[in-house]
Subunit: 331 residues, 2 copies
DNA sequence: CGGCACAATGCTCAATTTGAGCATAAGTGA
DNA sequence: TCACTTATGCTCAAATTGAGCATTGTGCCG
């Protein structure tokens, strides 16, 4: 038997002998007019990779850090400057990575970026898209999305399909857990799990090798190049979780804003509606914002006070954020 | 100007032309006798990489997914089977990655694993270590750790050191935010931020190029090979956050356990003490556990009821976990 | 100009959820 | 039997939630 010592020595060599192709992908999010948007580019090309995609590029040795590399790529590809950036996840499944580059492993390190204003997207090939056009079942702001009716039907059929009763049981459990079927509750953070489930059930056309399965974009959403929809789903889930305990929403808002704009933005991200009065009470008592002396004007209804994010809270409070208080509309 | 189309085509080639060396690292956690432990191996060798380290190995093309690759490596290197595994973070700073492999970028994809029982660690070179021996300032279970007194002194000195008043101000803010100095509060989740701050302040010997700085292991903790202490810090921070909203602690406990064991485990991970009665009330009303018909025996004090984790809650409740209720001991 | 529709804000109230402790029960070892 | 230790039950006041009602400014429309 080899010792750990030998093993480790051998490994150091193996790392250099087995290099991988590493890509950087960005989910760049903005929220204007109360709609959540992601910056997309047009991916030219072959089978799996075509149509809408996320900005991406390879990691090259010139980049001192992954994040710097990402910023460089995005700014060059979309002419969009990035502010807040956080690492999302590293994807590396061989069978999900689109192109199979001759035995080379190819990884994608995905990042989430939040930008304040949305510029008209430098290049014609880059444009802002409402993220719910890719994942329509995630938008519960106007009540239960219609798409869910058909999705449910197909998912239940998929569960039935399993002959092994244990497998069927497991599928049903997952349906309950992720889609709130079979007595479960809808949890807005489980975006990725829902996408993966649909993928496995063959309802996502990106799942190559799957039978065509009349995939209606109205119902199962617009496809994306490569595995980018999965990356998008990861980003949304992460962001929905994060706004609850970190004041990241403000990265999406202009320097001054009304409480209602703030609420609309939170709702856009979380895909739910909130109780207005309680929302403002929460924000107020958390001391996240302070009043300016200005009011809005020219809008219908009573003018609202303009507020400003209190950057100091980043220092004061340990982990300020929002706890969401859904209104009854939920189910 | 090139079009996005051209740019993307060029990039696809660049990815293959600029491969990277990818490594997998694991933070394998267990908690026995109310102490949090990580599995470490002895790293032989040169300057930056020697001494205690985390199990690691290169990603090779045979691995179908990153996670599978990791499992394979760990089982081969430490003879420890893994249960719960989650991806932590991908590290890729060129100047922090120890060995500079001839222009190749080298990344480490880090994973967090939780294991139930701790086997005596297959190989002599692998052993379980209390994770607070590497980060002593993180253990507040017996009140404010002594090490903090000296750390504070040095950190304040470091802040003073800045000539530019703006820089000094920024450093002080960070001290408040991470270490709770200058009027801030201690947040047990900011493990990584604290480590990084110490690193920048030159109190961590792994920061090569830094002046020796009498780094007393009693105070600033035992060093690790490469950047592994940073990986460990990341893992602890993530786990401390996660136990609050997901029932992952049970991955560390035997099939049946007492409420007090459960509490001790949570305390070990979070590094704080909890209020006993309230803790049990919380656990009870969340329905996370159910009674068995057995009691403990042979221990001092009144025997406790043995409990069992209710796996069903994974399906029922949207996101069950613990909200920690610290006892007054905190400051 | 008076009335309407529509937001913004202020405030109330009951139902829960926390945070802290006191009191009792049930073993072990001397 | 006593002293000690840990497990459990229960209480109580303070703080936080969840739902709504009421009032106040504004632009718009006859």
């Amino acid at each position: 038997m080899t010792t750990a010592d030998d093993t480790l020595r051998a490994e150091a060599g193996a790392a250099l002998a087995n290099p991988s192709a590493v890509g950087l992908v960005a989910v760049i999010v903005a929220a204007t007019d109360g709609e959540p948007r992601a910056l997309t580019v047009q991916v030219p090309g072959q089978a799996t990779g075509r149509g809408d995609g996320l900005p991406y590029g390879p990691l090259v040795p010139e980049h001192p850090t992954l994040e710097r590399g990402l910023r460089a790529w995005v700014e060059r590809q979309t002419h969009q400057r990035l502010g807040y950036v956080e690492q999302l996840y590293t994807f590396g499944d061989r069978d999900r990575q689109g192109e199979d580059s001759a035995g080379l492993h190819s990884l994608s390190v995905a990042y989430l970026a939040l930008v304040r204003e949305m510029r008209p997207a430098g290049l014609a090939e880059a444009s802002w898209r409402n993220w719910y056009s890719y994942l329509p079942w995630e938008d519960w702001r106007a009540g239960r999305p219609e798409a869910l009716a058909e999705i449910e039907r197909k998912l239940l059929a998929w569960a039935e399909e399993a002959v092994d009763p244990k497998l069927r049981r497991r599928r049903e459990d997952r349906l309950g857990l992720t889609f709130g079927l079979c007595g479960g509750a809808w949890n807005e953070e489980r975006v990725l799990e829902r996408y993966e489930l649909l993928f496995e059930a063959g309802l996502i056309p990106e799942a190559q090798g799957q039978p065509g399965e009349a995939c209606n974009a109205e119902v199962t959403g617009q496809p994306m190049a490569f595995d980018h929809r999965r990356v998008l789903a990861t980003a949304i889930g992460r962001l929905r979780g994060k706004i609850k305990y970190r004041p990241v929403v403000f990265e999406l808002l202009p320097p001054t804003f009304t409480l209602f704009q703030l609420q609309r933005t939170v709702e856009a991200l979380s895909g739910t509606e909130l109780h207005k009065q309680n929302f403002r009470r929460l924000v107020a008592q958390q001391g996240l914002v302070e009043e300016t002396e200005n009011l809005t004007s020219g809008t219908t209804g009573r003018p609202a006070r303009l507020m400003r994010f209190r950057r100091e809270v980043l220092l004061e409070r340990p982990a300020p954020g929002f706890r969401l208080t859904p209104s009854r509309r939920q189910s």
